[in-house]
Symmetry: C2
Subunit: 409 residues, 2 copies
């Protein structure tokens, strides 16, 4: 018998019929002998409905009251799912965040979980009940209702799994797992059976939006095995864990990409200490997030060239700020390009294998894909290319590393 | 400065626009220098929406989970009203039943309030905040969400007023007060400025459905002055209190009536102890509620005649049961009539004035209204008449006791 925490998102519980499907799925796990705790989101559309009621009254949403309002969404779902389980003869009990004391700080709309009371849930499980918990919400020390912000239900599930020392935390979504790359770009992209937390973090931040980064990092920190599955199809999904001996020995797990990038370059900046801060400080002050940062010494030795990437929407703002900075610092020139994309190879295997980068560059060169920027980390190599090369580049790399076949690089 | 508890029902908060009207009304009380606690119901239609979601999943609603589901209705309203108040520059704070610890027993869907924590509310009021509390809901000792059943928000308001020792509990509805009788029957029916708890109980149970009996009786028990007002029109409404010296000295406060009555008579029952129980026991066992009961000694001295009234819907069932009982007891005959109505004069003044009954009977006789039954209590005289005389009877009595003019009988 395992203790499993299952999380179903808004689409998975989007109608009474879908809630019944979820009940069936919960029962199958239970019939296999597992103890099950279920975390659910608000029914899809419900949060928007509540927000539009509030918007009809005021433009300035009061954070504390917004949490009181939005937390009703999951509360409806827990009641309906518990009824669906009871109808199937399965004893169930629903709990709001307040009721199982999901203690958070007091940062309304983006609170962070500090502690969860596990005794009540363990008692229900021991009595043979399925426990249904409202995701996305908690309560602060003053008894005020809080919500966790984006991806909050995933975080609730992972935090519950950690607090209960669950064997597995299963995140049910509308995809059936994590793929080697986006199947819409590469039709023979393959579902991964396993992936490490580190790889998943790189995949997620690079655009594979299966899981919220925050919950993956949370799961990694507390070593909660995380599984991504489809709520609509059968299948084993993808298990996200720490690397172990049994792990399939692929060098590369997948290829992530990001379509909406732009790059900015400032040329001939006098090379003295603190120049990077002088360049990026004003960008950060304007709340523009910077992704890749590359600095090269220029041929003359006295000045330097400096390049960074931002989201395409932020390109005009960043360009204007950089131009001002260039004037102040006496830099030679500012250039930019908002028709670029980023393609990244991700895999823990590359840590111990130097040939990956050259294989990557060679494959791209063979197809005439010109590389504009390169950046590497322990488990990732990213290249920036013109946006017209996105699909060609991703398919070329998927083939070059033979990702359609499991564990064969 | 007074401490006032105001309650707004589902119609009064039925749309964002109406919630804004309620906020304006709360602010007017506050601008008059009063401390205000507001109790709200779910927006009209919301409870039905939630019930239909549950009905799509199961026929057998789980009482505990039904309360989790339905209690979201008021939670939405408290958040929206608090936002509307904050938008107007009025500091406000919302609380669910759980948050202000409206402790109830564990009878889900029909729980009874046992205790309310008043410290938190008093602290908010002292800090100049308006406190907005979800009606209809509470929490049991185990931390489970409960609901109070029909009229629950009225009960919440009265219980809060009692716990906080409020100066007045104001119930906002879609009528602007309690009338001497139904204005649809008597166009010059007059709104009462005051009425006693006892009179209100008689009026309510007799068909003036302004307030739930339970909350009136609760208010009377804890001596909470209760005021009924319209949420849509200006006005002082009707104050419900105990009798005092300043009370307007009318003998009769109003005329209640009930259209859907039926009467059953059993004639020539052998007159021995326990016969009333033998007659009414089987009726009660069939869950039929009996209203008036009248027993007369028959002329022969050895048998008795026995009449009672029931709701018209229960007439066929009651008649069949009574026929069986008659056979068993050897009674002479069973008769009945389901085309009757009941008209009642209500007023604490009649306690000290014997002439009321004769004035009543005389006025009805003058208009040819034949009285079929009479029943009296301390503050009420009821007559049963043929249903065709209902309007004539009510108007005749309204004139005879001069109810269109305040305090002039």
């Amino acid at each position: 018998m395992k203790l499993i925490v299952q999380k179903y998102g808004g689409t998975s519980v989007g109608s009474p019929e879908r809630i019944e499907n979820v009940a069936d799925r919960v029962l199958r796990s239970r019939d296999q002998g597992h103890a099950v705790v279920v975390v659910v989101s608000a029914m899809s559309g419900e949060t928007d409905r509540l927000l539009s009621l509030a918007a009809a009254i005021t433009d300035t949403l009061v954070p504390r009251e917004l949490d009181v309002l939005l937390s009703t969404g999951e509360q409806v779902t827990i009641a309906l799912l518990s009824m669906a389980l009871e109808k199937r003869g399965c004893p169930a009990r629903s709990y709001t965040g307040t009721q199982v004391h999901i203690l958070t700080d007091s940062a309304h709309n983006k609170a962070r979980i500090q502690e969860i009371e596990d005794q009540r849930i363990h008692a229900d499980l021991a009595a043979g009940r399925v426990v249904v918990v409202a995701g996305f919400q908690g309560v602060d020390e003053g008894g005020n209702i809080t919500t966790l912000g984006r991806g909050g239900s995933d975080t609730t599930a992972v935090a519950l799994a950690a607090a209960l020392k669950a064997d597995e935390c299963q995140i049910y979504t509308d995809v059936d797992g994590v793929y080697t790359t986006d199947p819409r770009v590469v039709p023979d992209a393959r579902r991964l059976e396993r992936i490490t937390f580190e790889e998943m973090l790189e995949m997620a931040s690079l655009g594979s939006k299966v899981l919220q980064i925050r919950s993956v990092s949370f799961a990694g920190r507390y070593n909660v095995p995380l599984r991504v599955l489809s709520s609509f199809e059968e299948g084993e999904g993808t298990l996200i864990t720490y690397e172990d001996e049994n792990m399939e020995q692929a060098l590369i797990s997948g290829i992530a990409f990001n379509r909406d990038e732009a790059k900015l370059t400032i040329l001939g900046v006098p090379d003295r200490p603190g120049v990077a801060h002088q360049l990026l400080g004003p960008i950060a002050d304007a709340n523009i997030e910077v992704d890749m940062i590359i600095q090269n010494v220029a041929p003359d030795g006295a000045t330097t060239d400096f390049t960074f990437t931002v989201h395409r929407n932020d390109y005009p703002g960043a360009l204007a700020i950089l131009q001002q900075t260039a004037n102040k610092l006496g830099a030679r020139e500012v250039t930019g390009d908002d028709k670029i994309v980023k393609i990244s190879l991700v895999g823990v295997g590359m840590r111990s294998h130097a040939g990956i980068a050259s294989t990557m560059f060679e494959a791209l060169a063979r197809e005439g894909v010109n590389i504009r920027m390169i950046s590497t980390s322990e488990i990732k190599i990213s290249v920036v290319v013109d946006e017209k090369y996105l699909e060609l580049g991703v398919r070329t790399l998927h083939d070059a590393f033979n990702l359609a076949q499991p564990g064969t690089v």
